[in-house]
Symmetry: C2
Subunit: 242 residues, 2 copies
């Protein structure tokens, strides 16, 4: 699956500090679905996405999956403070990354490399903040709130484009939000019926948001109950009207 394209050096500048020296970044390419690294493998490299997108996740023995984060162009992932990766990373679509060796932060010579550990701290602190917010979402929010939060997050990370193109499928969204694909699909349909979003073209991954304000309100707190039978939008409309 892994398709190595070339080995030219790339000076990213902003990331040189992370590895403590003028870095030689290599260009790698992964095909859709390819594993970039596996959970519990030695954490040798850090990655920065040039194009494409990546999911990082954990698995239970029976295959249940929890996606911890999506990584988009410009994002750095695979930064660990320990010896091993704590997630598996896979390319969601064909993806190109810059890759570089990460010096062990807790190694004997770590003290020499102050700026590096500062950068690592920043990155890890950002991951922590994201994870902590996600705890609240997974533990205490409804399916509608979860999907609304997901759309709001993606909208912001993609810089609120006129048409948001989601790289990931319903399965990935479901595993990110702790739901099933059917529930995700139903919530999308409800949001479409309520004119909060619409689908552009025929692919259902291209989305136009019609009311970011409503969406953000739903993401944070909604009294909304999904209607599975009976009139389809009585409770829904009530919830959305908040």
């Amino acid at each position: 699956m892994l398709d190595r394209v070339n080995f030219q050096t790339n000076k990213t500048g902003e990331l040189d500090l992370l590895i403590g020296e003028r870095a030689f970044w290599s260009d790698f390419r992964y095909l859709r679905g390819a594993e970039i690294f596996g959970e519990a493998e030695p954490a040798e490299y850090v990655y920065k996405i040039r194009s494409g997108s990546v999911r990082t996740f954990k698995l239970l023995p029976d295959g249940r999956r929890q996606i911890g984060a999506f990584h988009l162009p410009g994002d750095i992932f695979g930064v660990e403070s320990g010896e091993v990766y704590r997630f598996t990373a896979e390319a969601i679509e064909d993806t190109t990354v810059w890759i570089a060796k990460l010096r062990r932060i807790f190694g004997e010579c770590a003290d020499e490399n102050v700026p590096a550990s500062k950068d690592v701290l920043k990155l890890i602190a950002r991951s922590l903040q994201h994870a902590e917010n996600h705890l609240l979402l997974l533990g205490r929010q409804t399916s509608l709130e979860k999907v609304a939060a997901f759309l709001t997050e993606m909208d912001q990370r993609l810089h609120s484009p006129a048409v948001m193109i989601l790289p990931m499928g319903r399965r990935d969204i479901a595993d990110y939000l702790g739901l099933t694909i059917e529930t995700v699909s139903r919530v999308f349909s409800i949001l479409e019926r309520e004119r909060i979003l619409s689908f552009e073209g025929l692919r259902h991954r291209e989305i136009v948001l019609h009311s970011r304000a409503k969406l953000a309100r739903l993401a944070l707190f909604s009294e909304l109950k999904l209607e599975y039978r009976g009139s389809r939008d009585s409770n829904l409309a009530r919830g959305l009207a908040v």
Copy 2:
């Protein structure tokens, strides 16, 4: 609520580095239920528990609560890389802490303080690991698996005592696991019926674990379904026999 006991200096040794200088730690005491710091408040201090226990949590506007972590004697909490606390912290029971000013890690003079930022990194990395594991639990595990995982975690953190005394009530456990108190209580009852644990004395917070191995297996992966009506342990027994 806050009850300041004294202001004597305490040299903890292991934590001096964290604040970058020989530290003057103050002793503070909080009564049961007292707020130690609030979410979004400026993060001025770090705390180390001398006795008692603390919960850190986030709230939704309607009061839904997600507890991110429990902190026990010896634990350090309140370490932030940013300007503000990202959780609220409350004393679960009457609690005594050591408190110290945390130098801003990302301040202008941060470079001078290499060991401190290394310590902060360690602490934050540990928090991140805990949070990431908790994502999988909240998003993809059943009520039984959640409670089993909670008991296993507490057992380990309390060093597997003969009788485990839980400082927190069912409400806290529920808000940690993304469940209700009733569901937590029902799962405890099932585990008692299955002779995996029993309650010591009359308080139902003192627990004896009879099979840590079974519990650990349940925590990671169980086919078990709760039986709410009908014969009480048919499916249960099947699940537990794995």
